[in-house]
Amino acid sequence: MKNEVMYGILFLFSVFISSVSQILLKKSAGKAYESKIREYLNPPVMIAYFIFFVSTLLTMFAYRYVPLSLGPVLEATGYLWVSLLGWFFLKERISRKKWIGLGIIIIGILFFNL
């Protein structure tokens, strides 16, 4: 049981850094680049893909003890991270409806794990 909790936290961390990677890519997508090559081979994009790669590894390790049914449930926290990171770093608005939806996701995840 303890393993499931510890590795569950690892899984959540993996989802978090995957969200960071998405925000990095989004921030990078807004910029103009000299060439198509530069669009992909610049530091922020390369770092973003590296982080994503690390995330797939961490998720895989976490699945050692996390049940498969729990995986997508924990991945749903990604919506929360992306919204918060987008708000903080990209100045994206979070509407009231969105806050409510995010709250419902969290409630669902907690309910699932009771």
Binding site: T56, T59, M60, F61, A62, Y63, R64, P67, L68, S69, L70, G71, P72, V73, E75, A76, Y79, S83, S95, K97, K98, I100, G101, L102, G103, I104, I105, I106, I107, G108, I109, L110, F111, F112, N113, L114
Partner: protein, 114 residues
């Protein structure tokens, strides 16, 4: 009719995506750096690349928000594959939790539409 076909493709693609999670779990349960470990991880990465390519194509014909809302179905696939392949149990609590999460996801995605 054409639209129905597109949504069927979308869900086949999401089903395909859920197979990635299965590979991730098999890889995680395998002995570190063993042949099955590399095989399943390689399979996972292959699935993710193929998924990314087809996801981009689908986005050309389906609204982004609709596609992301549909992604909520991966929660169901996690429960199904967890049961069928990893003999995890499905409880009413999990089913309700999953339903709440999916409702929350659709709400979050729809909030972005406005």
């Amino acid at each position: 009719m054409q639209k129905t076909r597109t949504y069927v493709y979308l869900h086949i693609l999401l089903l395909f995506y859920s197979l990635g999670a299965i590979c991730s779990k098999f890889a995680g349960e395998a002995e570190f750096l063993s042949f099955p470990f590399f095989m399943y991880y390689g399979l996972l990465l292959t699935i993710m690349v193929i998924y990314a390519v087809f996801w981009q194509q689908i986005l050309k014909v389906i609204p982004l928000t609709t596609a992301y809302a549909s992604k909520a179905v991966t929660v169901i696939w996690g429960l199904v594959w967890g049961m069928l392949i990893f003999h995890e149990t499905l409880t009413l609590q999990k089913a309700i939790g999953a339903g709440i999460i999916m409702f929350g996801i659709v709400m979050v995605v729809k909030a972005d539409e406005e």
